[in-house]
Amino acid sequence: MAANIPNDNLTIPASWRGMAPVLIAVGAVCVLISLGLFYFTGSEAKPDVGFRVFFHSYLANFMFCLSFCLGALFFVLVTHLVRASWASSIRRLSELLAFTISWWALLFIPILAMVLFTNSQALYAWNGGPGSDLPMIVQNKLSYLNPGFFAIRTLVYFAIWGITARIYFLLSRKQDDTGDTEISLKLQRWAGPAIMLFALALNFAAFDWMMSTDAAWFSTIYGVYVFAAGLLSFFAVMIILCNMLQNSGRIEKLVTVEHYQDMSKFQHGFIVFWAYIAFSQFLLYWYGNIPEETLWYKVRMTNGWQYVGLLLIVFHFAVPFLGTMSRHVRRNRGVMAGWAGLILVAHWLDMMFLILPNAAPVTPMLVLGHLICWIGMVSIFLALFLLRAGETPVVATKDPWLPESLAYQVGP
């Protein structure tokens, strides 16, 4: 079967990997700069507001990277589940992204430490505990929203994702050596239960980490929203990643224009799905017009956040929806990489829109600090990803479905 597989260069360029320490250093510096920036500019009105904004910004950027890693994990699981042959060219890259989750989880430690060891309300108002002046509605939730239980749940979520990603990555690596087709069957068999655990963990992690930054507010669709955003950004990341690797002479024949078209189709589908979920949530709260529900939107429709909301409608939905509709665009990887970049910017705005309005109004300084924090976090993420990937081949060449993946022609 090996004769069918084109001989491609399958390792991430060494020059990229060599940049990992630099990236970590740059990342750490940027995060510290943003902390300083927030601390010294935000402290005029209230002493703790700078700290508050920093933690919100940190969480938003943390979720920015985590969301597409979770999208990658879901993609790995679901393509095994439905025996999607086309995906076998790009599944290893998704496995690597998902495999990075367990290291990326280390960056949650500052938040966890703040919750566990202080009473700081910088990120979560409920962390003040029963003694603080929380509204009654939040006081009643403290049996769920308390530091101990929060930490346990966080560990469980990361354990579910980390272990699943590790199993799927290692077994796939094993198949690289042995070519054992039984491994594919095994991965397929366990994908169902793994997806169920994944969905439960994602749903509740979204509630715990993100939704509870506004402890009084609630929305049952929130987990689905984060899932939609994660999968969308995952496809954008994959398109950019494949394009960059091919530009540097890697996987030139193993990832074909058909794969770009498929990824772009899925990206397009999730643009619509994200809009559908976002609109459903908005419409129901707008129509119901119940104060405790609309407050969340009220905050996001004032203080400059309304412009971020409009940007989301335009650049998270309308423009990329129309722009990536055509088959010709989808089959042009350079152009698609541009669109994917736009999607990632919109995704960054989306994460910001979900979390930051709870902390402060939009100001140029806030955007600047958040951007620096983002550069820092993404640099660290990239470094972790490159270290995680190492010299691992970025395509699983012994995947039994790979020949079919390469032979496939997308229809009309």
């Binding site: 969905a199 609630f218 049952t220 559908y276 405790e292 020949p403 009309p412």
Partner: protein
Amino acid sequence: MASIASPAIDNTIDIPGRRTPLVLGNQTYASVTHMVARISEEAQPAIWWIAFAIAFPLMLMFGGLIGYLILTGVGVWGNMSPVFWGWPIVNFVFWVGIGHAGTLISAILFLFRQNWRTSINRAAEAMTIFAVICAGTFPGIHVGRAWLAFWLTPYPSLNLWMWPQFRSPLLWDVFAVGTYASVSLIFWYMGMIPDLASFRDRSKNKWRRMVYGLLCLGWSGSSRHWMRYEKAYVILSALATPLVLSVHTVVSFDFAVSQLPGWHTTIFPPYFVAGAIFSGFAMVLTLLIPVRAIYNLKDLITPRHLDNMCKIILATGSMVGLAYTTEFFMAWYSQNPYEFFTFWNRAFGPYWWAYWIMFSCNVITPQLFWFRVFRTNTVIMWVVTIFVNIGMWFERFVICCTSLSRDFLPSSWGYFSPTWVDIGMLVGSFGLFTTLFLLFCRFLPIIAISEIKWTISQHAHSEHRYKHGHEHH
């Protein structure tokens, strides 16, 4: 014709890297045409007549009850303060939900290139249309003065001098269900055109030839026609996919835009859609398991197809379970006393029996499909799908009736009891549905012949590739 022996190979077993055949028994193009076309050419089996003899009178009864309702008034139903949305709306949502599988199979599975859909999509689409007909009947007669239901359309009226109210979710429903019904119908019909041409070309009788000739619009099988046809099919699938989602989403808006506890929750749209797919697939299985046995179609609707459908039922059933959990959790988390009371009341109030029927049928029974043995035994499978149908009917009952019967004001609490007309109409709607489906089996191609042929050709190519690859190995 090729003898239909029990399948020599078990196509539910996966061989990584090799596609299992979707059609069994060494079928040729000609044998597929024959196997499907003979159903409408030969006399129907006795069981068809028995089923028709049961379903047709039930359909007539449905018509009679509608007449009785219109002449007498909606008071013949059990709808009474505070439950003004009783069984008619429950039945409406139930049937609309059933009607989701067909277009899902033909559109979404098509876009996902799930070729196994080819054996089941035609029957599922037909089922969709018949279910939507049943569904559309209920709100139509529920408006009270059914003969004025046309007021819902935005037409320039000289009598009313007014327009429909586009801020009402009930009007969205009119547009959503209307669009869905008409687009599904045209999608179904377009899919049938090549197969109707097959029927035409096989017919010995002049009249039969003329009728099918008219229906297939003079299809010749030209490659130019096929190219545009395929393009249209892709576009329709891309349009129908969000359409399917939108229909049950809009149905969920009927409930969710209100402020009633238990209705006003943001997860309703995706949760309703998942539930609809769940019930739709269950109904497809309920129908196709007998159909493949009666018409000897086991080589076309193979264990593989049933196995896949069971897995979809399992997946969507679990999604519905996740939604139930989320709702219950959020009822507590929101710290809204009314919300929490409603959920407590659902599970432990006067309708506890309905809630637990719903929960056990929808969440627990599908879990059987984790095990291969249940996914290959058609009898058990059939029983489970019946349970799922029951469970999904009760889900709508629980949503409609428990929330309405006990809302904010304890002094206006009540308990819903159906009348004999309610029960008769539910049974009668099944009569209508079954009658239409039986007529469909009698006259139209119940399996997409041309698409099956395409999968046979595809399988030949992929086998060739597989064997070729192994020679080099």
